[in-house]
């Protein structure tokens, strides 16, 4: 069994979209998770709820909201297009934005948990040993929240690989541009005699999902043992 060029293209696109989307959401997610873990402020529940919307809303709704906001004629999209000539609708970059948005709550949750369990005193200790805030962050905070970062990133990546509803609503189903694996599967099912292609996609998707789950579990075990000497 081998993949057709179109299916290979869908796989490549899926990986690209998921990688870019996850990578782009790392820093903002870290910032939001930090704020949620460390500060109390009015509207915190609102912010927390907003972050979690992509988890609870139907994905098509998210896709539609993105289209209204970032589409060529959307509120922000029109401005972006006129000012910078950037457009997201019906491009892989738009699919990457969908990936980032849908994976965001998973990333924030994992990061927030590891920030909340981080012992602030360790950073204090680093400071008394001569480390400025930046060095303390890079040498103490970052290594210690890496398990959360990794778990969150893998989850978000897996979520991005499986994303369907929001993607099709925002960027459509254009082979070579926005047709990721789930969309290719959908298209295959629309065609008479597409079952064979469908099975190939199902198989490849399952393989990736299982591999990612395994990777997440392994990295989590390894890091937890390294940091605390105990098994999770």
């Amino acid at each position: 069994m081998s993949l057709t060029p179109a299916e290979l293209e869908a796989l490549r696109l899926s990986l690209l979209v998921a990688t870019v989307g996850t990578a782009a959401s790392l820093l903002p997610a870290l910032g939001i998770a930090w704020v949620l873990a460390r500060y109390r402020f009015p509207g915190k529940i609102l912010l927390d709820g907003l972050i979690h919307l992509p988890l609870v809303l139907p994905p098509v709704v998210i896709g539609y909201i993105l289209l209204v906001g970032l589409g060529r004629r959307g509120v922000i999209g029109a401005w972006l297009y006129e000012s910078f000539g950037v457009t997201f609708a019906f491009t892989w970059k738009g699919a990457a934005i969908v990936a980032a948005v849908m994976g965001f709550p998973l990333l924030v949750r994992a990061l927030r948990l590891s920030i909340e369990t981080l012992d602030d005193g360790l950073v204090g200790a680093a400071r008394t040993l001569g480390a400025g805030p930046f060095r303390a962050f890079m040498t103490v905070t970052l290594p210690l929240i890496t398990p959360g970062l990794l778990t969150g990133a893998i989850l978000a990546f897996a979520r991005a690989l499986g994303e369907f509803g929001a993607t099709i609503a925002f960027v459509g189903n254009i082979p070579g541009q926005t047709q990721t694996l789930p969309l290719a599967l959908y298209s295959a099912l629309q065609l008479p005699g597409g079952e064979e292609a469908a099975w190939r996609i199902v198989l490849i998707s399952t393989l990736f999902a299982v591999a990612l789950l395994g990777l997440s579990e392994l990295s989590n075990r390894f890091l937890t043992r390294r940091l605390t000497g105990t098994r999770p």
Binding site: G124, R127, T128, L129, P133, V140, R226
Partner: protein, 373 residues
């Protein structure tokens, strides 16, 4: 006393207010007080980990913090070593990496202890490759102390370094702290709620309660003060209190594990190992362990007996009386506290102004927990 650290810190956190001024010279200054006295908050303010609302911190004449001059150096610029109660070793780094964390700064300081000296002093050689979670509590503390020392501090803060350890581990660490004390020419602020620990280690004492300094000064002077006794050992005249007399003295001679300690009351004979002529020791004499006789004792196994005058007799209920005794040979010496039964007071015909001979059994002065080991 040549002052190295001068600080005045005022800080408010919720209902708790801290307002304390203190000075420290080279040597160990113990901050003694019950939990919640604000000891850790004071250390954090000095280290720069919290920013007090008002006050100043001067170290070797250099202002580190001053609300009046609008100075507030960040912790990394203060050159203050901090040994935390729970060590706070970096769990993702090896012992060697932990020890080396603060050494970047140390290279600029010529008088600092060398790496090898610190490793020797704290016996860390075997541990270097290990990770913190493979260390015992005592080993963690030794690494924590080493890490702070290797950052070449001008002041060392130690926050109950022994509190999280069981008595056996505590006994393992104490000799290291003694050695440190001999070797270091640094001022050290040592937070503890354990009186015996301060007796063993400290040169000076600051007693704290509810964010204020109750007393500060030499050990004998501070610990015999009425309000310090009330705080640490219970209100005077109350049957639940456990009054204690502290006498500091210099070792005159040490022969066959028996040392002669010259105190304001006279010379005490105590069993003591690891003591040399000239060493300072602090004796802790529990009031209930003092016996009284009305005649000069002879033919007794008790070798520590001194002539005294009864200053005050207080009945404290439960058939017990607390007595305050003035030393006959030196009226300025600390008052000796004794607790005996009311019946003994009647039988001996004791009254205020009478002469008695307090007897203190040598073995009592050597029990574990006192510093004479």
């Amino acid at each position: 006393m040549s002052v190295r650290l001068a600080a005045h810190v005022r800080h408010q956190a919720g209902d708790f207010s801290l307002d304390i001024a203190l000075e420290a010279a080279a040597g160990i200054t113990a901050l003694l007080g019950p939990s919640g006295a604000g000891k850790t908050m004071l250390l954090n303010a000095i280290a720069g980990l919290i920013r007090p609302h008002e006050g100043h911190v001067h170290l070797n004449g250099r202002p580190l913090f001053s609300t009046a001059e609008n100075i507030s150096q960040p912790p990394e610029a203060r050159q203050i070593g901090y040994v935390f109660q729970d060590a706070k070793l970096f769990p993702h780094l090896s012992v060697l990496q932990n020890l080396s964390y603060g050494r970047a700064r140390a290279s600029a300081v010529p008088h600092a202890l060398s790496f090898d000296e610190v490793i020797d002093l704290l016996a860390l050689g075997e541990l270097l490759e290990r990770r913190p979670h493979h260390l015992s509590g005592g080993e963690k503390q030794r690494v924590g102390i080493g890490r702070a020392l290797l950052s070449a501090p001008h002041l060392l803060l130690m926050d109950e370094p022994l509190a999280s350890l069981d008595p056996k581990r505590r006994g393992e660490i104490l000799p290291f702290l003694d050695a440190l004390h001999q070797k270091l020419k640094l001022p050290v602020l040592y937070v503890t709620h354990n009186v015996d620990e301060s007796l063993r280690l400290a040169d000076r004492l600051v007693v704290m309660d509810k964010g204020r300094a109750v007393a500060q000064g030499g050990i004998e002077e501070v610990l015999n003060e009425e309000n310090v006794q009330a705080l640490l050992f219970g209100q005077a005249g109350d049957v639940t209190s456990e009054p204690v007399t502290f006498l500091s003295g210099r070792c005159l001679s040490a022969v066959e594990d028996v040392a002669e300690i010259e105190t304001a009351w006279g010379t005490f004979l105590i069993p003591a190992r690891h003591i040399a002529e000239g060493d300072i020791r602090h004796l802790r004499i529990e009031a209930r362990e003092v016996a009284l006789t009305t005649r000069k004792p002879e033919g007794l196994s008790i070798q520590n007996a001194f002539e005294a005058r009864i200053k005050k007799i207080t009945s404290i209920g439960s058939g017990l009386c607390d007595l305050c005794l003035v030393c006959a040979a030196d009226e300025e010496a600390p008052l000796l506290r004794a607790r005996i039964t009311r019946r003994a007071v009647y039988t001996l015909g004791l009254e205020e102004g009478a002469t008695v001979w307090p007897l203190i059994k040598t073995a009592v002065l050597a029990r574990p927990g006192t510093i004479t080991q």
